[in-house]
């Protein structure tokens, strides 16, 4: 991508103003104030490069893939398939054919649940997760546990929002069939020690799935260094389109898995007696996929890698430190999630104001935050709160915006009387 250089200031730090100018949506007033978008944990905004890549596909060469001899189909197929290589680079995956396109993190986890785990799950077997998982890393396992009489085992979290490796080790037993753990928690911001968890699990021959929905946009990811067996993420949180995502899996595992959805594009030969399935990744990509979306995801990955995930992480670490200091100084405000290793967001509650009311009042000042349980109700129960307010950062956010957030919260406090 040619616009890589201007986004880097001297010394490798990011030129955030140049980055901002690439996001058309950021340049607007909301309720009479310049928009401060701090809901990136829910979904990130899209740079011109991504919007343009999707539009260009439809304008110039769109056709169905893998099935046309004509030129447009060949071009679409080539552009679509080229994205596997980009994902491979993003994750440092060993092989391109290990990249499976999905609709997002949720679908990736369900694919592993139904295709990898359920066929081997017996009554009494165990699946290990943590108490800070998103519902999408809880419910699929519960469903297959229900079907097979297997058991979901949960690693507890501390007051700070951390898990202990001893607790993990204790819970990996002879019946454990999979460990599935979030890399970066969307409710707490905790970065889990995934590498160490993988080591513990592999010592007992237990495979590990990593939910990378939040980590992929906020830090460098290297699946070989992590050592995990499956890694999933969503395109829309990585500045790419909705309805796109990736499941990466080690090839020998994928190769042994039965298909999940049956249909076109995933077969070798079909007769009414027998169907021969294609090899991965095609085996798991039945039907016409989100062609233009995946191509635009490729543009998002190019764009993100050109920024350099290390520089993104450093910039957001600065925002996090600033937010922790500013918000931490507000009386009556309690941060939920104070793990030592943390990134991407601050989650908080206030003595006198419910998160919903905080969200509505901040919106009145043009500040977009999320208020709710963040699809992590067990986390809310753990901290005895119905919901939290959450400000989650993107690469385009600035310290000034964090200051506006803090000022907005002080206004909430004034209104509700602290």
């Amino acid at each position: 991508m040619s616009s890589a250089e201007p986004l880097q200031a001297a010394g490798g730090s990011l030129d955030v103003q140049a980055i901002r100018s690439q996001f058309p949506v950021l340049d607007q007033q909301v309720n009479g104030h310049p928009l401060v978008y701090l809901d990136n944990g829910a979904t990130a905004q899209k740079p011109e490069a991504v919007i343009e890549a999707e539009a260009r596909c439809y304008r110039e060469y769109y056709a169905n893939i893998h099935r046309g001899v004509h030129s447009l189909s060949q071009r679409s197929t080539a552009e679509f398939e080229a994205v596997r290589g980009k994902v491979q680079r993003l994750l440092n995956a060993p092989e391109e054919k290990e990249i499976i396109f999905t609709r997002g993190t949720t679908e990736g986890i369900n694919l592993v649940a139904y295709s990898f785990l359920r066929p081997q799950l017996q009554a009494g077997d165990e699946i290990l997760i943590t108490a800070m998982e998103h519902h999408s890393n809880i419910v699929p396992w519960q469903i297959i546990c229900e079907q097979t009489s297997a058991k979901l085992v949960v690693v507890p979290i501390s007051d700070a929002g951390e898990i202990s490796l001893d607790d993990v080790a204790e819970r990996i037993g002879p019946r454990t069939k999979l460990v599935s753990v979030v890399h970066l928690s969307n409710a707490l911001g905790t970065i889990n020690p995934v590498k160490q968890i993988v080591d513990l699990a592999h010592a007992r021959n237990v495979p590990v799935l990593v939910d990378g929905a939040q980590s992929a946009p906020h830090m460098p990811v290297d699946v070989q260094a992590l050592g995990c067996d499956f890694f999933v993420f969503s395109g829309h949180k990585l500045y790419g389109p909705t309805g796109t995502g990736v499941l990466w899996g080690r090839y020998e595992l994928l190769k042994a898995m039965p298909p999940w959805h049956g249909g076109g594009d995933m077969i070798r030969t079909v007769t009414f007696e027998k169907t021969d399935f294609a090899d991965p990744p095609a085996r798991f990509e039945a039907g016409t996929p989100n062609i233009a979306g995946v191509i635009a995801l490729g543009a998002a990955i190019d764009w993100f890698l050109a920024l350099d995930p290390r520089a993104v992480a450093a910039h957001e670490a600065d925002l996090l430190a600033h937010a922790t200091a500013r918000l931490g100084a507000i009386p009556g405000l309690r941060l939920i999630g104070t793990a030592e290793q943390r990134a991407g967001l601050v989650s908080f509650v206030m003595d006198d104001a419910h998160p919903h009311d905080i969200g509505t009042i901040l919106d009145g000042y043009g500040i977009a935050v999320r208020a709710g349980h963040h699809c992590a109700q067990p986390v809310m129960q753990r901290y005895g709160v119905p919901a939290t307010a959450r400000a989650s950062f993107g690469v385009y956010n600035t310290r000034d915006e964090i200051d506006r957030l803090a000022e907005g919260i002080l206004k909430v406090r004034d209104l509700f009387g602290g």
Binding site: N31, G32, H356, T360, A371, H373, P386, L415, F416
Partner: protein
């Protein structure tokens, strides 16, 4: 912002700080729980009816200021009404919250301020939550839970 600040300042905060009838009625003749699965808010509503008429109403729960204020006003507004009048009031309040349609000129217990919520569609479910619990309590007698997503 000013409209919103006005809403909060005029009633919501006051009701939120000192909600009316914030207590469990024991014994009661009717009760139901309103639950908003999108945010986890919960309002428990209790009625003590004498024949067809509400003698007393109370509520408890964990909810945002808008839901709490709406419940607080509700417990004032329904006192002395019969079931039919309550259902009618609940329908009118729902129109008020959704469309800002004031319908009547005279609203009991300051309920007309809920019309402001219609301009914040993200919050209409909060304001409606106790009213859903109210009609469920009337319909079911006791113990049911109603979700804002039904």
């Amino acid at each position: 912002m000013s409209e919103l600040a006005d809403l909060y300042q005029r009633v919501v905060i006051e009701h939120n700080r000192s909600p009316r009838h914030y207590n469990k009625l024991d014994p009661c003749t009717h009760h139901a729980t309103g639950y908003n699965p999108l945010c986890g808010d919960e309002v428990e509503l209790y009625l003590r009816m004498d024949g067809n008429r509400v003698r007393e109403a109370g509520f408890q729960g964990e909810s945002c200021a808008i839901a709490t204020a709406s419940a607080s006003m509700l417990t004032e507004a329904v006192r002395g009404l019969d079931a039919e009048a309550i259902r009618e009031l609940a329908r009118a309040v729902s129109r008020l919250i959704r469309d800002g349609d004031p319908g009547a000129d005279e609203w009991p217990a300051d309920l007309d301020v809920l019309g402001v919520v219609s301009r914040f569609p993200g919050r209409s479910k909060c304001a409606e939550l106790p009213w859903k619990a109210l009609t469920t309590a009337l319909d079911a007698g006791s113990g049911d839970t109603v979700s804002t997503e039904e």
